[in-house]
Amino acid sequence: MSHISSYKTEIQLDSALSQGLPVEEDPGWDILNDAIYATAEEMNLDVTRSFRDYYGRAIACDWALVGPDIPRGIGITVDRKTGEVVFSCDPYGGFERIAGEIKDRVVQNYASLCVAKALSALNYNVEVDEVKHPVEGKKVLIKGVL
């Protein structure tokens, strides 16, 4: 039999933590780094190490994405105890929408990189394609053939 499944996804970098290793050694750390840089390129953002609040105070984080549409930036931090990935920003002044779009794109890019890597690890021949949907935005299509 064959079937069609739908999933919602969450990022949690806890593989290394479960072995007593620092989260920076988690396989997902480099994938998250790649997903963030891919998002920066796609959305014309810069990657920094801090974002700012309404009062201009800098807040340190693991990565931050900053650009003309979100000048204070959005921070991304991995919880060192749980591996939870936390997105933070000060959205006051109408930045909720763009912050949400950036977060969604990072998660989408992360999921896409993971699916391609996982299918390769299961010995599939993998092809990746992207389409722009007029309403739903970017979609990533990944084909794996055994």
Partner: protein
């Protein structure tokens, strides 16, 4: 027929996966293996729906004709 997995990743990482060409329950075993591989990479995939393909969809995949569905004249 070769086994094939087609994945569509939408906004915010919503994932739709179509398994084709798997015999019996192998597609479910493969879905579990894929979920485990994703989990090891830090991606938790929480199932929202699982829809088995219909017999006609499976037959279309493997190129067989359904003997119960034949074209008939309509006029």
């Amino acid at each position: 027929m070769s086994r094939r997995v087609d994945v569509e990743i939408g906004r915010a990482g919503q994932v739709r996966i179509e398994f084709s060409g798997f015999e019996g329950d192998l597609c479910y075993e493969e879905a579990e293996a894929l979920a485990r591989a994703l989990r090891s990479l830090g991606l938790k995939a929480v199932p929202l729906s699982v829809v088995p393909k219909s017999p006609s969809e499976i037959e279309a995949e493997i190129g067989m004709e359904d003997p119960q569905r034949r074209k008939v004249p309509v006029n």
